[in-house]
Subunit: 223 residues, 2 copies
DNA sequence: CGTCACATTGAACCTCTTCAAGCGCCGTGG
DNA sequence: CCACGGCGCTTGAAGAGGTTCAATGTGACG
């Protein structure tokens, strides 16, 4: 069988905090998406929004890392995306969220009411921006699709390259998520992720100074 | 290795016809997406649009079946979606297509210039419609992601259920695509698809009267 | 300093792939 | 009208890659 991440009720590790709502400091009308209220802090494993909730807010991550997940009937968890500082998220659907989002590490997130964006008498630029963002998400999802068809090694390498691309520093990556998160993102088991990383290290492609750091020795030869 | 569908130069079976452009009968201004020019006919394996081309048109399939594909560097082909009569497609990106589309069977497609939609002085309803469509595509893609994480049997069953849901007739499905198309859509080999279908038949879940027909005996117990 | 969650490592198993052969349908040409 | 040939599909047996189960290792935090 292929059941991996059954959410065995480890009620301690998975903080099941109820979704908080930011204090709506609706004052100055936002003309672009950049204008957002003060950042809200989220603890590790705290939920930003949950599946089935209405799509009322748009989020911009300031610091930390957010994971977007879908949980299947069987309890199987699939990780749809990681969001890093600067990324916008919360646009997975038009009416109701199809995904949940949680912080993988203490994070700060700016929030804006979506209505405030849409209701501004048809701000064409803004809604086009939303369309662009959704299209970008779509492209990301399709790239992720491609990744899931490859072998374990290529998936891990692809993940590292994706993270490296989004990092500021060159050749050095920070992984602000657990092995389980990575595994669920890549459709592998934590054991395979661990083994594959180790293999890449013994091959000389990378170094693993700590659990959260990866150094890419030859970014080009990573294929 | 995981290389499956390497496009071995079977230049005969894959009609590499150049993308045709419909005769632009731009006359009556379109106020909704429903207003489209007369349908264009496409032959089997004929390309509607290709990867890298600008996103200038929106398409609505009238009859037949369209497959959306991405081809990887290795020659590996991934099938992103099937479009059936009534479906709209061509919104995989905002600027340049990231996918190619071909007819899996003789098909008729209605076409509309995208500019004609966007340039109408900011038709808010239309652009919101586009946003909805893109969001729906995103959801489809994420569902497809989920499917790719399951075992072979669950993938095939999921595919059958998806097709059944889109069919008018109840309990009977037409598959207007080859086994290779199905395999590339599910991330499996044609052998596994064939075997799995046969297995489902011997289990009594389905019947396979012909290559293109599937009868679902107990749609509920298909799990 | 002990505990707990997370990560690593090892060995047996299982599913899907791979390679290879045979089948059946359909169009073409004799 | 039937034989031939091609293509897509089926079926079989061997192999690889990832999962599973189980045990051990390691770092953070009280």
């Amino acid at each position: 069988m292929l059941l991996r991440t059954v959410s065995e009720g480890n009620s301690k590790s998975r903080t099941r905090a109820r979704t908080r709502r930011p204090a709506a400091s609706s004052s100055s009308p936002a003309s672009t998406i950049d204008l957002m209220v003060v950042p809200t802090a989220y603890a590790r494993n705290e939920e930003i929004f949950g599946e089935g909730e209405p799509v009322d807010y748009l989020y911009k991550i300031e610091s930390g890392c957010i994971r977007a997940t879908r949980t299947h009937d069987n309890g199987h968890r699939q990780l749809v995306a990681f969001y890093l500082p600067g990324n916008l998220f919360g646009l997975d659907a038009h009416d109701l969220h199809t995904i949940s989002t949680e912080a993988t590490t203490p994070s700060k997130v700016r929030v804006i009411k979506r209505k405030a964006l849409m209701a501004r008498g048809g701000d064409m630029a803004t809604i086009k921006h939303l369309l662009d963002l959704t299209a970008a998400e779509l492209r990301r999802s399709q790239n992720h699709n491609l990744l899931l068809l490859k072998g374990a090694q290529e998936r891990v390498v692809g993940f590292l390259q994706e993270m490296a691309q989004r990092e500021h520093r060159q050749g050095e990556i920070e992984l602000p998520m657990t092995r389980r998160d990575i595994a669920d993102y890549l459709g592998l088991t934590i054991e395979t992720v661990s083994r594959t990383l180790k293999l890449l290290e013994t091959e000389g492609a990378i170094s693993l100074p700590s659990r959260w750091r990866v150094v890419l020795h030859d970014p080009a030869a990573l294929n």
